[in-house]
Every structure is written in C-alpha cells, then in structure tokens.
C-alpha cells in the first residue's frame, strides 16, 4: 500500500469567509479541500448571519510546511476579527504524493507499512 504521512488541517469559520479562506488554502499550496455545513458555539459568539452559530468546517490534507503556512495565515489574517477555530494533526494518506504540489513535493514521507 502507498501511504504517506501528511497533515490534516481543520478550520471552522463563519460562512462569509468560506471563499476567502479556501482561496488562501490553494494559494498556500493545498491541492484540494472538503467543506461541510456546521453550527457551533464559542466564546466570542459573533453573530454574523440570520442563523446564529452557522459555520462551515473546512478540512485539507497537506504537507507539513503547507500546514504551518495555513495556520500562520489563519492566525494573522482571520483569527482576530472573525469567528474562526483551526487545528491540525498528522495523518496517513492513501497515495499521499497526490496532495503535495510544487516545492513541497519531497515532503510526503512514504510509509513503510
């Protein structure tokens, strides 16, 4: 089997950010993403639409360096003024070489399992 170790970055953001954040992801080196509708509660309770707590949950499988860039971007550009939470952790990915682009090509460590 063809497993690679990459990072899964998950972001829960207010809906108005969806397009802006996913554009950032691709710009920073992600090759794709998956989005789901969500709702939630946090400490800031920013009420940004007619459905309080409506959010989108975005996840992207990326190389470690891309994950770091995404998290930095989130913190610097979005975290202060918008309802955002973001986390990351390592995962083993089937044919993970498919999800690393350009300079990060070498980063998808093949797994010996």
């Amino acid at each position: 089997m063809d497993l690679h170790e990459l990072f899964l970055v998950t972001l829960v953001v207010e809906p108005v950010l969806e397009d802006h954040v996913t554009r950032d992801l691709l710009e920073l080196g992600a090759t794709g993403f998956t989005v789901m509708e969500a709702r939630g509660r946090g400490t800031r309770g920013i009420r940004t639409g007619d459905i309080p707590g409506h959010n989108v949950r975005i996840e992207t499988v990326v190389a470690k360096s891309v994950a770091e860039r995404i998290l930095t971007r989130v913190q610097e550009k979005w975290f202060e003024q918008y309802a955002v939470i973001a986390w990351a952790h390592p995962v083993k990915v089937v044919r993970g070489d498919k999800y690393v682009a350009g300079e990060t090509q070498g980063e998808a460590e093949a797994d010996e399992e």
């Binding site: 108005v16 009420r47 940004t48 007619d50 459905i51």
Partner: protein, 326 residues
C-alpha cells in the same frame, strides 16, 4: 380626531391580519424557548419564491407601463439610496457617538432595503384597497445597492487599509436578491401575456400571500432570537431603529407623493425607505469592515426596525401619504 381615528382603524386592520400575527407568533415561540424553526432550506426557498414572484409581477406591469411614469420615481428612489446611508451615518456618529466602523456598518444596512418589508407594505396597501403602482418592484431593485455602496465607501475612506470593496460590491450586485428581482423583472417584461396568465396564480394572490405568512412566522423566530441581544446593544440603538425608520419613512412618503405616486405607491416607497437590509448588507459589511460589530447592525435591522415597520410603521406611512394626497 377624524384623522387619528382613521390611523387607528388602519393600525387595527394591519395588526389583525395573518402577516404581523404570524411574525408575533414566531417571536413568542422563541421567547417561550420553543425549538420550533422552519428548516433552513425551506426558509431560503420561500424567500427565493417571494422575490422571484415579485420580480415577475413587476416585470409584467413594467411591460405595460409608460416609461415616462417611472423615470421620476426611479430617480427619487436613487436619491433615497444615496441620502439614507448619509443620514444614518451622521446620526450614529454625532448623536450616537459611535465609532467609524460601527457607524458605517449600520449605515450600510439602513442604506439598503428589506424586501419583506416591501412585500408586507404591498400586501397591506392592496388589502385596504389602495394598491401601489405595478412598477414598484423596479424601485426595490434600484434601492438595494447604492446605499450599501455609499456606506462601504465611507468605511474604506475613513478607515483606510486594504479592503476588497470592489469584489464585495460585485457580490451584492449578483446576489440572490438582484438576480431574482432584476431577473424576474426581465422575465416578466419579456413574457407574452398569454404565457404569463398560465403561471400567474402560482406567483400572485393567495399563494403569494400565504407563503409570505409562513415566511414571516420564521422571521419572527429569527428576530426573536435577536431580542436577547438588545440588552447588549443598548437603548440608543433601540431609539435609532425606530426614529430612523419614521424619519426615512416620512421622507419616502413625501418624495414619493411629490414624484407622482399614488397614496399606495408612496406608502410602499416609504416602507422601503424606512426599512433596513438584513440579507445583502451583512456579508458585504462583514468582509469590508470587519472592525464593525455585526451584532449591532443585525439586531437593529432585524429586531427593532423590521418589527416596528411591520406592526406600526407601514400603517403610519399610509396615513401620512393619504393625508399628503388628500
């Protein structure tokens, strides 16, 4: 006395009809902590239906109306679109002593328009036998964008920074409201009368009004949800939401009458002018003036100005427009 008696009659006729009562029911359900709410997609679907129906009917009438009759009301409406964000901003800054970001954010909401308030005014004037001109939906389309644009400009100029204002205005211009309203106007205007007659009962009369009642039930739930925020947003905003509505409403009735609209038409224009956006403005403001607290503007638009207009504002503007005309 005669006149205030007439106003009371109008108020009563408005209150004892399913539209405000359904809204009140939604608010009450929320206050009783009921978990009732319309599914999100049904709420969105009803909103789409109402806007599209509005556009279609307006378009059919537009096809019949002499262009000359519309030009002056259209220009007057555009003027309202430019003036209302400025008055709102001015009052918020000078009387309310609010910051630039919050003032510009709220001004964008009060510069645009609430389509449901418009529809409720249409249904109301219709119900009391003073129907508005058929081309009113065209005016609604005209009033949607300029106020938002003006307010975002204020924000961009006063606050500086790198803001995606152009991109966001494109989103407003191609947003749901204008696609359905403007597009519906085109479809309605181009359709053969015979073809329109075959679908008309679906978009007009009891089905339209019945769907509006259901929509207002959920708007009551949504507005009721916001009532809790009133504590946080404070007394000034409460007064602002009512007084600004009355001021813009009376102004709308006056310029509408001046522009030649019937009392029904002037009432509907007044109701538009008195209303505040809660669909187009919020995301536009959020992306361009993130410093503004969205709770303030949404609470003012949805939990103060909208209910005020539905319950008392629209009849008030009608009384004023009738008085002006008489």
């Amino acid at each position: 006395m005669n006149e205030s008696g007439a106003l009371l009659d109008i108020l009563r006729a408005n209150l004892l009809s399913p539209i405000p009562l359904a809204f009140a029911l939604g608010v009450a359900a929320r206050l009783l902590k009921s978990e009732f709410s319309l599914p999100r997609d049904i709420y969105a679907g009803l909103g789409i239906y109402l806007l599209f129906a509005l556009g279609l009917k307006g378009g059919v009438e537009l096809g019949n109306a002499p262009l000359a009759a519309i030009v002056v009301p259209a220009l007057v409406t555009l003027g309202l679109g430019v003036i209302r964000p400025l008055t709102s901003y001015g009052v918020l800054r000078s009387v309310g002593r609010m910051g630039v970001a919050d003032s510009a954010g709220i001004a964008a909401h009060y510069g645009s328009v609430s389509a449901v308030t418009f529809i409720a005014a249409l249904a109301f004037t219709d119900g009391v036998g003073l129907p508005a001109e058929g081309f009113m939906p065209t005016l609604l389309a005209i009033l949607e964008v300029p106020g938002i644009a003006v307010a975002l400009m204020i924000g961009a100029v006063k606050l500086g920074g790198d803001r995606p204002t152009g991109e966001v205005l494109h989103e407003v211009l191609t947003g749901r409201t204008l696609v359905l309203l403007g597009g519906g106007l085109l479809v309605g205007a181009l359709s053969d009368p015979g073809a329109w007659e075959q679908v008309k009962p679906f978009y007009d009369g009891a089905i339209f009004k019945g769907a509006l009642v259901l929509f207002l039930l959920e708007m009551g739930v949504v507005a009721g949800e916001r009532l809790a925020d009133l504590k946080e947003t404070g007394a000034f905003l409460l007064v602002f939401g009512v007084v600004m509505a009355i001021a813009h409403g009376l102004l709308g009735a006056a310029v509408g009458t001046w522009a030649g609209l019937s009392p029904g038409g002037a009432t509907v224009l007044a109701s538009m002018a008195a209303s505040a956006s809660y669909i187009a403005a919020p995301p536009a403001v959020r992306m361009t003036i993130p410093e503004a607290n969205p709770t303030l503007s949404l609470t003012a638009a949805l939990a103060i100005t909208f209910p005020f207009n539905i319950v008392a504002g629209i009849p008030l503007y009608l009384a004023f427009a009738t008085w002006l005309a008489g």
